[in-house]
């Protein structure tokens, strides 16, 4: 197996007395889809927030392409090419897709004003690439369907050359057809060499899509294995029994 792009070693995070994540190890390889599974409260979201700079680690280390890095803020993570798509997508429903894509990272003209033309061009390119049928670039995203909103959130993460894409429960809120679209999109992104983490509490959401699967319980690593060595029943056992 190839050298991991990103490695978490012995990562720990406690909130007050709660050990949300404890001496957790995780390696991500470029171009893989990595399923992260566990019950509600297992520590998945916390682990991903450590990775995206929302929380800071108490102990352990994070290595990117072999070098130790520090993630103090979401900005730091973005700078390292780590992008997070939150379960609630974190979109501003009153703004259109273009505005949401570039929120906080707006392209500016020489005068410091919004460069709507440039942003619109880039958005057309990117969204057209993800879904050629999407034309509602200037509609408030609150009026888009669940799948379209998901796509806007994904596009936002891809805007600035993401190398690692974390998706928290990506298909949980979607209908079957849309969830299939998003799945196909995830596969295509992985083929481009992006490492993708799919976080879920539901085995069926991620099993078929993943190249490797990691199971967590009580903040700790239970197991990591290629999907080919697993079957759903075995994963379920790992999730429930923790061994």
């Amino acid at each position: 197996m190839s050298e991991p792009l990103l490695e978490l070693r012995g990562v720990t995070k406690t909130f007050g007395g709660v050990h949300a994540v404890e001496t957790m190890d995780l390696g991500l390889v470029a171009g893989e889809v990595h399923g992260l599974l566990g019950h509600n409260g297992a520590g998945k979201s916390t682990l991903m927030k450590l990775l995206s700079g929302v929380h800071r680690i108490d102990a352990g280390e994070i290595r990117l392409a072999g070098a130790a890095i520090e993630l103090r803020s979401p900005r730091d993570a973005q700078r390292h090419g780590i992008e997070m798509i939150y379960q609630d997508l974190a979109l501003a429903d009153n703004l259109d897709s273009v505005a949401n894509l570039f929120l906080g990272r707006e392209l500016r003209t020489r005068l410091g004003l919004l460069d709507e033309g440039a942003m619109e061009r880039r958005a057309t390119e990117l969204l057209g690439d993800l879904n050629p049928d999407f034309h509602q670039l200037r509609e408030p995203v609150g009026r888009l369907s669940g799948g379209q909103r998901q796509m806007v959130a994904i596009a936002r993460a891809l805007l600035f050359d993401a190398r690692i894409l974390v998706m928290d429960e990506p298909t949980a809120a979607l209908g079957p057809a849309e969830s299939q679209n998003v799945s196909a999109l995830i596969r295509r992104l992985a083929e481009r060499g992006i490492a993708i983490v799919l976080v879920s509490h539901d085995l069926h959401d991620v099993f078929d899509l993943s190249d490797r699967i990691t199971v967590m319980k009580n903040g700790r690593l239970v197991a990591t294995a290629p999907r080919s060595e697993l079957d759903p029943d075995r994963v379920l056992e790992l999730i429930i029994a923790g061994r």
Binding site: Q78, Y86, G112, L137
Partner: protein
């Protein structure tokens, strides 16, 4: 109807305010026996609307960001007293005292506004409480500044800002200004259309674009034509656009640009749509909040200057209760109290609408107590309509999802 509006991309709130305004004008003209829609009364109406209009332009952004500013009336009073005192007491002889005093008034307004923003953004206190404290503190300070004494005389050049005698720009300049505004408006609209075509984004329906353009052009030119019918007493010399209305126009255009073409404005709207989304996208919400209240304070300073110029004196009670008129105008103009949605154009229309009611009822000889009841009811109606509209729009969105 909803679908038709959506395709047209006309702002339904703006259309609603416009229709309401025209209906009110027709009714008022009828019941006052034709006293309302006269050049003279429209001139007065325009002057009266400018103070509330200037502040409503800022209140839009404050409310869009899910905050509120109750201090603007008191801040108007304080900055007005300050700038009057500078002209009358501190630098009574200097010719440059009045521009300096305006600059100081606006700067103090911005500074005190920013201070409130700091309490909201960094101490995490609700804007309602912080600016309520501001309302009390600034009003008290306005009184303390001169122990409640009225301040005059002011520089006569400065008093032109109030729109009284000599307070207009003359008929020729009015036409020039009107035509320039129309030219800029039309070119901009066409540019947006061409840009869209170039990027393959579906264009707006021609009829809706033409309608919007026609309304804008007719509104501006019609205003100039009517205003130019109003003459000075005992002469047929037209006065032209009142200077406070020019100030309002400049403020409105500037605030529209701030809201729609700068990252700051974009972030304000994002905060109103979803504070979490803004934070997670890396928007500096605290700094944006401070900037927001600073802009609002600066506009209260501008309104203070207009008020003092119109009264020809500074009094410590200036602007009392005007925060409510400003908030009402903003909401009537289509700004959603829940945040995220609002427009500068709507707020200006809202200010004109509020002032039309006030003005019309004065023409009818209605007592000030009854006027308050009337305006309160209209505000209630506007917010109720907004809530109904919102519920319907929400229902539609759910269907679509």
């Amino acid at each position: 109807m909803g679908r038709w509006l959506r395709e047209s991309e006309l702002d339904p709130r703006l259309i609603g305010t416009l229709l309401a305004l025209f209906s009110i004008w027709l009714v008022l003209d009828r019941v006052t026996g034709g006293l309302f829609l006269t050049p003279r009364n429209l001139y007065n109406l325009a002057v009266q609307s400018s103070v509330v209009g200037v502040m409503a332009c800022g209140m839009v952004l404050v409310i869009v960001a899910r905050h509120i500013d109750l201090s603007v009336g008191s801040l108007l009073g304080l900055t007005g007293m300050l700038l009057a005192a500078m002209q009358a007491d501190v630098l009574p002889a200097a010719a440059w005292a009045w521009p300096l005093s305006i600059a100081v008034g606006v700067a103090v307004g911005a500074g005190l506004g920013a201070l409130q923003g700091v309490w909201v953004a960094y101490a995490g206190l609700p804007a309602f409480v912080v600016t309520l404290a501001g309302l009390l503190i600034y009003r008290g300070c306005a009184y303390l500044l001169t122990d409640g004494r009225t301040i005059s005389p002011l520089d006569p050049t400065f008093e032109r800002l109030g729109g009284g005698i000599d307070g207009a720009i003359g008929p020729e300049a009015s036409w020039v200004l009107g035509l320039a505004a129309v030219a800029v408006f039309v070119t901009r609209q066409l540019r947006v259309r061409m840009d869209r075509a170039r990027h393959g984004i579906p264009a707006r329906a021609v009829w809706s674009e033409a309608l919007q353009m026609g309304l804008g052009v007719m509104g501006v030119l019609g205003f100039v034509a009517v205003i130019n019918l109003h003459t000075l007493p005992q002469s047929d010399e037209a006065r032209g656009i009142p200077i406070p209305v020019v100030v309002l126009a400049v403020v409105a255009v500037g605030m529209h640009a701030l809201a729609r073409t700068t990252p700051f404005g974009r972030h304000v709207f994002a905060m109103g749509g979803s504070q979490r989304a803004a934070v997670r996208a890396g928007v500096n919400v605290a700094r944006t909040t401070v900037g927001l209240f600073a802009v609002m304070g600066a506009l209260a300073g501008v309104a203070g200057a207009l008020t003092v110029a119109r009264l020809g004196a500074g009094t410590s009670s200036m602007g009392t209760l005007s925060e409510l008129a400003v908030i009402a105008a903003t909401v009537i103009g289509g700004t959603r109290l829940a945040g995220g949605v609002g427009s500068i154009a709507g707020a200006v229309l809202g200010a004109v609408l509020m002032q039309s009611l006030e003005n019309g009822m004065v023409l009818l000889g209605v007592s000030s107590a009854v006027r308050q009841v009337g305006i309160g009811l209209v505000l209630l109606l506007a917010v109720w309509l907004d809530a109904v509209w919102q519920r319907r729009a929400g229902g539609l969105a759910e269907e679509g999802a």
